[in-house]
């Protein structure tokens, strides 16, 4: 079996352009969730989201293309032409659909993620093999799992995974209707958490076989060593309360990586800040790792819940934690929930290990777990 390694990656988040800025932002402990300026939030549950400064709605370029264009143009020369592209998104270029409903466009079809995939392949300069993956908020971690699986099984030896989503009226009104948003700012694993904060971001990871990376003299950032995917098959918007679905996904991922839970040094949790998600995650984690309290963190107090991009950004941050052997603080965490006490922290947590775990869950009960190795 071929090893799937990450060779190039980057992101743009509400902290700014580049993984460095996101890392520094998280370590500053200051949230990048801020007032929404691009549409009225008068009737919404919150007026805050982790928006990217300078990103504005305009007819020439959609919000996700404003994120993706500079990000991918910078590295297009490093992307081999035979790369298979996987796009993970929940809404893609949703402005086309919004404009269609306003009567400003003749068709909403350009909002389909397939059209966005075409544009991405054009910027990346690939031959045109690709697919879109949609699995709610676990979309990009599942896309990364699929990429790693393709490499491991030698279907492809180079796969570019791209994740993106923007803060739109479409999505904010929807989450607001479900009463899933924190009126102020998301506080993952906090006793007083009330919901999530939406965020926008784009990111990419180029995944290659170890062999090809070696031949092309690529710098290896880390390995996607194992993965597991499950479904709660329980409720359309809420997770299984006991975390049993995520628990099974973590066990599958450990088995796929061929490592025991004892090897895991830290955990990047989905940690949305909703009452039920955070509780079920801690239950699942405790069930796998028993009472061996590991450093657990969530980035969503800093950069919000970036939906289809979330898992991919968390992989990139996880590789950085493996490199530095320290987790970022969980931003906005003031009063640690009793269940999470001893696991999460508002401060950076050092660890010593070559493996971390990254988890994501989403609507429809989807769960994803990834084992990452330095």
């Amino acid at each position: 079996m071929a090893k799937a390694v990450a060779t190039v990656c980057d992101m743009v988040t509400s902290y700014g352009c580049g993984a460095d800025l996101c890392w520094k932002g998280l370590f500053s402990g200051i949230t990048a969730i801020r007032p929404i300026e691009r549409f009225s939030t008068q009737n919404m549950q919150t007026s805050n989201a982790a928006t990217i400064p300078g990103l504005k709605i305009n007819k020439d370029e959609t919000l996700v293309m404003q994120m993706l264009n500079p990000l991918l143009s910078k590295i297009s020369a490093d992307i081999p032409h035979d790369t298979f592209v996987i796009l993970a998104t929940t809404n893609g270029e949703i402005e086309f659909l919004q404009r269609y409903v306003y009567g400003e466009e003749n068709s909403a079809k350009e909002s389909l993620p397939d059209c966005l995939l075409e544009k991405i392949m054009l910027i990346a300069g690939t031959y045109g093999k690709g697919m879109v993956v949609s699995s709610a908020c676990a979309s990009s971690s599942i896309a990364a799992s699929m990429a790693a699986s393709m490499v491991r099984n030698k279907d492809h030896d180079c796969v570019l995974v791209v994740g993106c989503d923007c803060v739109s009226e479409f999505v904010t009104a929807g989450f607001s209707s479900l009463m899933a948003l924190d009126a102020d700012k998301a506080k993952p694993f906090d006793k007083n958490r009330q919901g999530l904060s939406l965020g926008e971001a784009a990111g990419y990871v180029l995944i290659m076989s170890e062999e090809r990376a070696f031949i092309e003299k690529r710098t290896v950032i880390g390995e996607i060593a194992g993965w597991g995917m499950t479904n709660d098959s329980n409720h359309i918007t809420g997770p299984s309360r006991d975390g049993s679905g995520l628990y099974r996904a973590i066990l599958k991922a450990l088995k796929s990586a061929g490592v025991s839970g004892k090897k895991i040094g830290a955990i990047s949790a989905h940690g949305t800040g909703t009452v039920y998600n955070d509780s079920m995650e801690i239950k699942a984690i405790k069930k796998v790792f028993c009472e061996r309290a590991l450093p657990v963190y969530s980035v969503k107090g800093g950069i919000g819940h970036t939906l289809g991009a979330a898992g991919l950004l968390e992989i990139i941050i996880s590789f950085r934690t493996l490199d530095k052997q320290v987790t970022p603080p969980t931003v906005n965490l003031c009063n640690i929930d009793e269940e999470a006490f001893g696991w999460v922290s508002p401060y950076p947590q050092p660890f010593e290990s070559s493996f971390t775990l990254s988890t994501n869950s989403g609507f429809g009960g989807v769960n994803s777990a990834l084992i990452l190795k330095r």
Partner: protein
């Protein structure tokens, strides 16, 4: 090896099971729930089916038929490690429009959560997973080339990689849907089971009706040979 053990389909006029050679007419999708209850194709009522968008309905109908064709019983309370993968032409475009148009028409006061939940292409698969108790991997895929072979090949690989006992591959549109049950088998000695590569070859047709016809013919030919 990967075998196809059940194929269920539904269109605006008929529904059926390919391997079991079963076909019936119906009076429209609205009548199908009670019809499926009467025939024990649904073993218990689908909760909140009236709330479902149209693709969630066609997904549930075709998955029920495919599981029946495969002889797999199901229960929401006893979940099975079966995955569900889906693909279709336009994802959830129509549901996206319905949700956002409703929000705008209502003066942007409050969006409807019951419409918003269908603005993910994976939601119809999730509705089916909840009803049938399928707890394996769930995802919606969209390939550049809209060929069913990509979906079926991918579903086959997911069984080997994920070590799920079976995967249901669904191609659901608003006017028709087809679902395939894929299982790992030691051999194809059971004459009912079909080799995945043969099903892919038969299913690779441009129209839905042609595909169903080709699958039916393939099953007839296989029966004659055995």
């Amino acid at each position: 090896m990967i075998a196809v053990t059940g194929i269920g389909w539904v269109n605006l006029k008929e529904y059926g099971c390919i391997i079991g050679k079963y076909k019936k007419s119906h009076n429209g999708f609205d009548s199908l729930h009670s019809c499926f209850m009467d025939e024990s194709i649904f073993l218990y009522p689908v909760k909140s089916i009236k709330r479902f968008d149209i693709i969630s309905r066609t997904t549930c109908y075709s998955v029920a038929l495919a599981l029946k064709d495969a002889g797999i019983s199901y229960s929401h309370d006893h979940k099975k490690n079966i995955g569900i993968l889906g693909a279709n032409e336009e994802g959830c475009l129509e549901s996206n429009i319905n949700y956002y148009k409703d929000y705008i028409d209502c003066g942007r006061i409050k969006a409807r959560g019951n419409l918003f939940i269908y603005t993910l292409p994976s939601t119809p698969l999730a509705e089916a997973a909840i009803h049938f108790g399928l707890s394996g991997p769930l995802l919606h895929m969209s390939f550049k080339e809209k060929r069913i072979s990509f979906l079926l090949n991918f579903a086959g690989k997911s069984i080997i990689e994920e070590e799920v006992s079976a995967t249901v591959a669904v191609k659901a549109e608003k006017s028709n849907a087809v679902s395939f049950v894929l299982e790992k088998k030691e051999d194809l000695l059971n004459t009912r089971d079909l080799a995945l590569e043969n099903v892919i070859a038969a299913a690779e047709k441009t129209s839905f009706d042609e595909m169903i016809e080709a699958l039916e013919e393939f099953c007839e030919d296989k029966a004659d040979l055995s």
